[in-house]
Symmetry: C2
Subunit: 324 residues, 2 copies
């Protein structure tokens, strides 16, 4: 995987130990997705090999601060978080009938619904067996609560599908459950491992997770398609009503009355995206996300070492930079 520029910045800011630890996490992920019988191993390994930003493992490591003498427990926590995230993606692809993820064919597309469902379950179970080896029930509790939240967030998204009147509060609750909790959990796990201020770092992670989701939803409307690898407006085509639409409908009565089921082509979806953009909703949504990132940074606990504090700020800025 080629890290995105923002991740490279964080690695530079975070200290020389970071690339070493991230590589150890990668090795653990490869080991954990292997050895599950020939069929599941192929699916689990391709899921893990497809990569992604490894942003959640990075948060685990950064929240831990100075690397402990024995890095293994920290690496296990980081790998476990990524496994839970990967499990969710594989299940999401089943629900979204998605053919591609990160430019690669999904397990769902190559092997069908059954294989994808089982692969997700396997990755989920392995996350807990990996984390269990740390001997820390408090860590298991954090990961399983985040896992419950993910399931609830995914369901909320299904329940609210096609509902153009969904409230802002409900949208934010969904983002909290399906994205922010695991970001927060990643930071809590890192901090727990080294005895850091886990409550405050968890709050930091949750805030940048929420900003991350908001900006991801903006990107679906703003494009460009070359960045996202998909047409603009795919969320609406799938019935997922997000912040840009929620803000735009206040300014455009015709948008408010839209039935997204009538959007019958990628071109029609792009036209709706242009309409949403014309209301200024994208700038408003971005401003909300940036405010959250500012809040996250301002809320960083005072006692952190300079390098850790700086690296966490860089990762927070990186969430924004991805979308600028």
């Amino acid at each position: 995987m080629t890290p995105e520029p923002a991740v490279t910045d964080v690695i530079h800011a975070g200290g020389e130990h970071l690339p070493v630890l991230l590589d150890e996490v990668e090795q653990r992920l490869i080991a954990l997705s292997g050895d599950a019988g020939p069929v599941l191993t192929a699916h689990a390994s391709s899921t893990i090999a497809a990569g992604g930003k490894r942003l959640r493992p990075l948060l685990v490591l950064l929240a831990a601060g100075d690397p402990p003498l024995d890095s293994a427990p920290l690496v296990r926590a980081a790998a476990a978080v990524e496994l839970v995230h990967s499990a969710t993606l594989v299940h999401d692809d089943v629900l979204d009938v998605a053919a591609l993820r990160r430019g690669q064919p999904t397990v769902f597309a190559t092997a069908g619904r059954g294989a994808a469902l089982c692969t997700g379950d396997l990755l989920f179970a392995r996350a807990f067996s990996e984390l269990a080896r740390n001997g820390r029930p408090d860590q298991i509790e954090v990961l399983s609560l985040a896992g419950s939240a993910l399931a609830q967030g995914e369901l909320l998204q299904r329940a609210d599908a096609w509902n153009t009147a969904v409230t802002l509060e409900r949208y934010l609750e969904r983002c909290d459950l399906k994205t922010a909790r695991l970001f927060g959990g990643a930071c809590v796990l890192g901090a727990l491992q080294t005895g850091g201020p886990h409550d405050e770092l968890g709050e930091f992670g949750a805030r940048i997770g929420l900003a991350f989701q908001l900006l991801d939803d903006v990107l679906d409307v703003s494009g460009p398609a070359e960045r996202t690898g998909k047409h603009r407006g795919t969320d609406l085509l799938d019935g997922t009503v997000t912040l840009p639409f929620i803000l735009a409908r206040e300014h455009d009565a015709e948008l408010a009355g839209l039935d997204p089921r009538t959007i019958d082509s990628p071109q029609a979806a792009e036209e709706i995206c242009d309409r949403i953009a014309a209301t200024g909703a994208l700038e408003e949504a971005r401003a909300r996300a940036l405010a959250m990132v500012d809040e996250a940074k301002a809320g960083l606990p005072a006692g952190l070492a300079d390098q850790q504090h700086f690296a966490l700020e860089v990762v927070a800025n990186g969430v924004v930079a991805r979308y600028s």
Copy 2:
């Protein structure tokens, strides 16, 4: 839920504490399936309320032997095992496009694939948060390995679907993964909680789990439909090739050449069942299962208290009695 006669026998044999603990498990399951937002709570609760034999929690309690002064950790372990089992059933119903389970409409049938997938994920995550409260990483390890095995077993079943040449070894491996491991894990968890001989009791559980699966597969062919709540031969209609067919094909060349995709009605499936039965395969399969149960009982460790030993024998016999 009305316990089946065999379960009642076990409760009598196991001591006065058993009904009390089983009731505590039931209360925990109700609490754990609640409180997950209005939609998921409804699905998770209906899944748990639909009941079932609670055979796996019973094994946790029996393997623990004399009840510990503080029953809460044991009850949590028992509830966690049942949650993992329930999560798997909800996901299986998605894959099987199943309308009914235990005579109740499935989550899949009432709320769709998305809700069922999320409900399963939620129950799975909650299993680990419940068990984490015991503060025993060794227990988490046992449950997550069983969870991995379930996913692998389910996938193996999909991979082998419609393959009438599947080997006996592969069939037994599938049964081990999808049934025996969680039975074994249940016994290990109970024994770990009270410091009992967990390896031997885990072996006992795995053996009766395997016998349980074999007899379940016999029942699908033998009926009667009033017992199973479904037509005979539904496994074959779904493409699941099990022990009775594997044994029967050795005696009946025409059966061996059967393409199960050509079975186009429940009546046709019943005719195939009659053919399988005519070869003597059902008796042979039952005999194999009974031998496993005998082996399970013979392998019970010598140092168990008389009452625990007796209760475990009763539960092993109960597995057989269900199918006699």
